[in-house]
């Protein structure tokens, strides 16, 4: 019996050492999007309120996971009237859908410093699977002795898939939205 308990403790310890849990640092997390404006140019925007966490398991990457929560009403496109418009019923409908969430369903090692992440993106009340390649950057201690790691990814979605089909068209506002996510996590 003692040997069993010892073995279980050992396994738990090893797995605990294997998976590192990080909390997303909102000050160093950016979600930037790009959308075409009537074919003339692209408009960039970002979200100011990002939170979440991720778990990284170096030895067993399949055990890793990512959870991101973005507050919809933190959308910022450097134009107050447009920000208000985006928050209202024509687009994000922030009152009804206050958050955009991403929850990973699988993580696979894709290269020395990259991971193939699959998960569910919930936007405007609709959930669809998305896949992206997460490039990992540096891991180590910052000057404040906090252990950090970070990475960046890009993905493209169609807003009409998420029920945001107003003003979609080649001479209106683009349907495809390119999203760039860059984030740092602080080890718990």
């Amino acid at each position: 019996m003692k040997k069993l308990i010892l073995l279980a403790t050992l396994i738990l310890s090893v797995s605990a050492f294997g998976a590192d849990k990080y909390t997303i640092d909102p000050a160093h997390a950016s979600v930037v999007f790009k959308i075409n404006h009537m074919g003339f140019s692209n408009v960039y925007g970002m979200f100011g309120d990002i939170s979440g966490d991720f778990t990284l398991d170096e030895k067993n990457p399949e055990q890793s996971s990512v959870n991101i929560v973005i507050k919809t009403d933190s959308v910022d496109t450097k134009n107050e009237k447009r920000n208000e418009h985006l928050k209202k019923a024509d687009f994000f409908d922030a009152k009804l859908y206050p958050t955009i969430t991403f929850k990973s369903t699988s993580v696979k090692k894709a290269g020395a410093k990259s991971y193939l992440v699959k998960g569910d993106l919930t936007l405007h009340g609709k959930t669809h699977p998305v896949t992206f390649n997460l490039e990992r950057f540096r891991t180590g201690e910052d000057p404040m002795k906090k252990h950090r790691t970070g990475g960046e990814t890009k993905l493209t979605i169609k807003r009409s898939d998420y029920g945001m089909g107003f003003m979609v068209g080649p001479e209106k506002v683009g349907d495809e939205v390119q999203i760039m996510i860059s984030m740092e996590g602080i080890k718990d």
Binding site: K81, H85, K88, D93, K95, L96, H124, G125, G163, F166
Partner: protein
């Protein structure tokens, strides 16, 4: 692009609605009211479909709910026959149920706020009162006048919603305003071809639900929304003082000017602070 959008989503449905009204206007009651209720709702739904795509259930947002609310008010015209006795109670039930469709997804947060619940109740009463004012108005007014009043209210709502950041809801109100404009022509030249019993639920009850939608989803000051009922207040005053002209056009034009001036002033003040979209 805006002209193309206007022609496609507002003018085209309005022309089709007016032609169908004229075509089915010779039917005996209750079929005239029933078919015209369905035609009116179909015109709005077609316009909304062109603007925001296929309707989904449950509706993904406030504006999308209005498609289902239009069906709900068409059902009123179909189920409640003209000249039935207990219409006032039915009207209230219909508006409350229409509002419930729109605010259902936000019910928890809305009911937790006494202020929101109170304002929504007040806007329901405005819609209900507008319906009553329309019903009273036909005692002395020509068919053209109440339909023209509906056109003024929807036009004002369209501008107010545009100033308050919803092009979609603004365009939906434009579609209704243009449909009212087309129906005004029918009411002017062929008054016997229009069933006001089919039109009134959309000019008042449906409008009341639109006011609640704008309050909840666009955060518009409820006093501004209440001011959209000025044309109906003018109709009530007209009924109270018993003023009527023998000419349908004069009757409608006088009422149109009386109600449009204060609304234009209010909207001008709003445009100074909010402005149109960027």
């Amino acid at each position: 692009m805006l002209i193309e959008m206007f022609l496609k989503t507002a003018a085209a449905p309005a022309v089709v609605v007016a032609l169908l009204f004229f075509f089915f206007g010779s039917q005996p009651e209750p079929w005239r009211s029933r078919t015209q209720s369905v035609i009116l709702a179909a015109g709005f739904i077609f316009s909304a479909y062109l603007l925001s795509g296929r309707p989904a259930w449950p509706p993904p947002g406030g504006a999308a709910s209005l498609i289902w609310v239009a069906i709900w008010f068409a059902l009123y015209g179909w189920l409640v026959p003209a000249h039935s006795g207990v219409k006032t109670v039915y009207r209230g039930i219909w508006i409350i149920a229409g509002v419930a469709m729109v605010v259902w997804q936000l019910r928890v947060s809305l009911l937790n706020s006494e202020m929101h619940a109170r304002n929504i109740l007040a806007l329901i009463c405005v819609g209900w009162g507008m319906w009553g004012a329309l019903e009273r108005s036909i005692r002395i007014s020509h068919a053209l006048t109440p339909v023209a009043m509906g056109m003024v209210t929807f036009t004002a709502a369209s501008l107010l919603f545009l100033f308050k950041s919803s092009l979609l809801m603004s365009q939906m109100m434009t579609a209704m305003a243009v449909i009212c404009g087309a129906l005004s022509l029918i009411a002017w030249f062929f008054p016997r071809r229009i069933s006001l019993h089919a039109v009134f639920p959309f000019l008042s009850g449906f409008m009341g639900v639109c006011l609640v939608t704008a309050y909840v989803f666009l955060d518009i000051n409820p006093w501004l929304l209440v001011s959209l009922a000025i044309p109906f207040l003018a109709l009530l005053a007209k009924d109270l003082f018993g003023w009527a002209s023998t000419s349908a056009l004069t009757d409608a034009l006088v009422m149109l000017v009386i109600s449009a001036i204060p609304l234009a002033y209010i909207l001008w003040k709003v445009s100074l602070t909010s402005g149109p979209l960027y």
